[in-house]
């Protein structure tokens, strides 16, 4: 087995083990029955079942979009398993109730579930395939009135909040994959930070796709009420599989007056092997709404994994003087493809947005930045600054930039800068002449290139991101 993996070039992916747990799965395929099955499994209220069905019916009328600068074989939606839960007693009350196999999996991933979580100051809501396994720190957060739990739990315990905000930022029919997610989403994270409360710790969700042929459709909803502040980190890994797996998540953020939300993602889903076989299709819709005045939403993403990444974490700047930020590093090595960027929709007066995008392509990797800056007629004094830089390794990788700018207000200021550069032999030699190994030289050049993004990540995750980056680019030179 080891030899075969090595031969296939699969051993490079450090997190590619499979956890052996009997799963409680739905048969493959999608129909109204499957959706009712999922909804029933989760004991959902009728409004949610109907919401799902409405999404599904809408999805049936839609066509899979083809405009992205990515290529992949058609997805057979009838082959996907839409529900897979580890069979165990429902609702573990504490870590002791959790299947030890699951905990071991998280151990190997380095997710701090136990006391380590306390030391790391991280509250983790771990999503294992479709069901949330354990939520730490819930009680401590509850003292402050912060609700942080799995999405399914929130449906049971805070149905009014869920009903009020679900689909309010990403409507059911928003796009093909968002509609699919709205129909079949299984779990995810829910967070509500009440008025005036600043969440005292980083909140974190670790997603993991385990069961074979399972699509993961998680749904995240995060609400910061007036004057609240929260920083949230999402990290993702998946085991190695020869077949492609679809990951179509939806993340919705709502920031009310003076609220701040910082959402950071470190994504290293399995990227496929050296020849481009297998790997995750990461087709995700992420959007935040700055509803209140002076609110702020900041997206930071480090995308090193997935065979294909296709996503545009966006901000709707509705409140006056609200602020949207997007900091992104996307790496495509071997045969990985990425079409990623952001949308900044300026509606309120004196709204400001910043876009810093760093694309790195090595091997046969294709990396596209696609962004939209839209200034609506009422957005007096809106400002945007965009910077899109690409760094190329070798001569078979590609970088593409598709910036769209629509300005309907003459007081707006929009700036866009873009550069493309290659890692030069001169740079590598210079650093090696100073005593650095070739690998360290590459890491140094890449971290310098990504500096503006990394400094926006929480400290411990910046370190992790840097490591992932070096891992993905191993052997990119020479």
């Amino acid at each position: 087995m080891t030899t075969t993996l090595k031969e296939l070039g699969l051993t490079d992916y450090k997190f590619g083990f499979v956890t052996d747990i009997a799963a409680d799965s739905a048969p493959p395929g999608l129909s109204e029955d499957i959706i009712r099955f999922i909804s029933a499994k989760k004991h959902e209220p009728e409004w949610l079942t109907l919401w799902r069905l409405k999404s599904y019916r809408h999805w049936l009328t839609m066509e899979e979009p083809r405009w992205a600068h990515v290529r992949y074989n058609p997805i057979d939606y009838q082959q996907i398993i839409y529900y897979s839960a580890p069979s165990q007693r429902p609702g573990p009350k504490s870590l002791a109730d959790v299947d030890p196999e699951l905990l071991k999996t998280y151990d190997r991933l380095g997710v701090p579930l136990h006391e380590r979580a306390l030391l790391a100051g991280v509250a983790v809501d771990a999503v294992f395939d479709s069901v949330s396994v354990a939520t730490t720190f819930k009680e401590k957060l509850a003292e402050l009135g912060i609700i942080f739990c799995s999405f399914s739990e929130a449906v049971q315990t805070h149905p009014a909040l869920v009903q009020k905000y679900l689909g309010s930022v990403v409507p059911q029919g928003d796009n093909f994959f968002a509609a699919l997610n709205s129909a079949v989403f299984t779990d995810g994270s829910f967070c509500y930070v009440p008025k005036g409360v600043r969440c005292p710790m980083e909140l974190s969700t670790y997603f993991r796709i385990n069961a074979a042929k399972t699509g993961q459709f998680e749904r995240t909803l995060l609400i910061a009420d007036d004057g609240a502040a929260v920083s949230y980190l999402e990290g993702c890994t998946a085991p190695m599989r020869d077949e492609n797996q679809l990951h179509a998540a939806v993340v919705e953020l709502v920031a009310l007056g003076d609220a701040h939300i910082k959402y950071s993602t470190v994504q290293n889903w399995y990227p496929g092997d050296k020849n481009g076989k297998g790997g995750i299709y990461n087709f995700v819709t992420k959007r935040g709404a700055c509803r209140g005045a002076r609110s702020k939403i900041s997206w930071t993403q480090v995308e090193t994994g997935s065979a294909i990444t296709w996503k545009y974490p966006s901000v709707i700047l509705q409140g006056d003087a609200s602020v949207g930020e997007f900091y992104s590093v996307a790496v495509t090595a071997n045969h990985q493809q990425a079409d990623t960027g952001t949308k900044m929709i300026h509606i309120g007066k004196n709204t400001a947005s910043t876009i810093i995008s760093k694309g790195i392509a090595a091997g046969f990797g294709q990396n596209a930045y696609r962004g939209l800056v839209k200034i609506q007629p009422g957005a007096d004094g809106a400002r945007n600054y965009s910077q899109c830089d690409s760094l190329l390794f070798g001569d078979k990788s590609g970088a593409h930039t598709f910036p769209y700018i629509e300005v309907k207000n003459h007081t707006a200021q929009v700036e866009h800068e873009a550069t493309t550069s290659k890692v030069s032999d001169d740079q590598l030699f210079y650093l090696r002449q100073r005593g650095l190994s070739e690998e360290d030289a590459v890491t140094m050049i890449v971290s310098g290139f990504c500096k503006q993004v990394f400094r926006n990540l929480p400290m411990e995750f910046a370190v992790e991101a840097q490591k992932l980056l070096s891992m993905s680019l191993e052997g990119a030179v020479g």
């Binding site: 001169d426 030699f429 210079y430 650093l431 002449q433 100073r434 650095l436 310098g448 503006q452």
Partner: protein, 254 residues
């Protein structure tokens, strides 16, 4: 310390070095002079291990090593330093970070303990003072937006911190005004001691007013055609390089 024998090297199938012989002992300063295209910079690059050159014959002994068999970073860690003629920009990486990484790579190689940020800064600040370099240099990205003179000073700062055994300066004086030239000279003279050797590659005699060499060699058409004491440089200043003979055949013009 360094013994070069019959060194031949080509770039893109055109021979640039055609049998260089040179011996450098610890404590000595050698100046390599010569007209454009004589192979001076190629020699510096081959010694440091830059890619793109084919060594077709000859050998280079450095201390106990076959220098040409070592990877560039190992040469650097063994004490070979090249001050670049055209220092390279590394955007986003600050100078202090590179210097610390470089110094610790050398220290690890020698089996010494790595310096932490505090000790590192203390030692660097002293060197900055001595070389009259603005401490803000450390916070700037490596050579990014530096003037020509600043880039050369930065090379000298790196050299002062890494304390090499063999320092090769590749036309570090070119394009410098007199103040910058003095800084370069000060940096070189500061590391001059009986355990180190210095190889100055230069086109002009001017630098040698400030760094007095023990030996001067004239390189022409890929060979050392004359060697002498410091007075040879003065002679060259008067006579120029016309006497070295006809222009080399076109394939050697690199």
């Amino acid at each position: 310390m360094l013994r070069i024998e019959g060194l031949h090297a080509s770039v893109a199938a055109s021979e640039v070095l055609r049998g260089v012989d040179l011996e450098v002992k610890a404590g000595e300063v050698h100046a390599i002079m010569g007209p454009n295209g004589s192979g001076k910079s190629t020699l510096a690059h081959v010694l440091a291990g830059r890619g793109g050159y084919d060594v077709t014959a000859g050998s280079v002994r450095y201390l106990d090593h076959d220098l040409l068999a070592l990877a560039p970073e190992i040469r650097a860690r063994e004490g070979v330093f090249l001050a670049f003629q055209y220092p390279v920009e590394i955007p986003g990486v600050n100078n202090a970070y590179l210097l610390k990484a470089a110094l610790n790579a050398v220290r690890r190689h020698r089996g010494e303990e790595e310096l932490d940020a505090v000790d590192f800064l203390a030692s660097v600040k002293e060197k900055l003072r001595h070389l009259e370099i603005d401490p803000r240099f450390l916070e700037r990205a490596v050579n990014e937006g530096f003037s020509g003179g600043e880039k050369k000073r930065n090379e000298i700062l790196q050299m002062a911190i890494l304390e090499p055994k063999l320092a090769i300066l590749d036309e570090t004086d070119s394009g410098l005004d007199i103040d910058a030239l003095k800084v370069v000279a000060k940096g070189v003279n500061a590391i001059r001691d009986p355990s180190r050797a210095i190889l100055l590659v230069t086109h002009y005699q001017r630098l040698l007013d400030y760094i007095v060499p023990d030996f001067v060699h004239v390189l022409a058409h890929g060979r050392v055609v004359r060697s002498g004491g410091k007075e040879l440089a003065l002679e060259l200043e008067k006579t120029g390089y016309g006497w070295v003979g006809a222009a080399p055949p076109p394939e050697a013009l690199v």
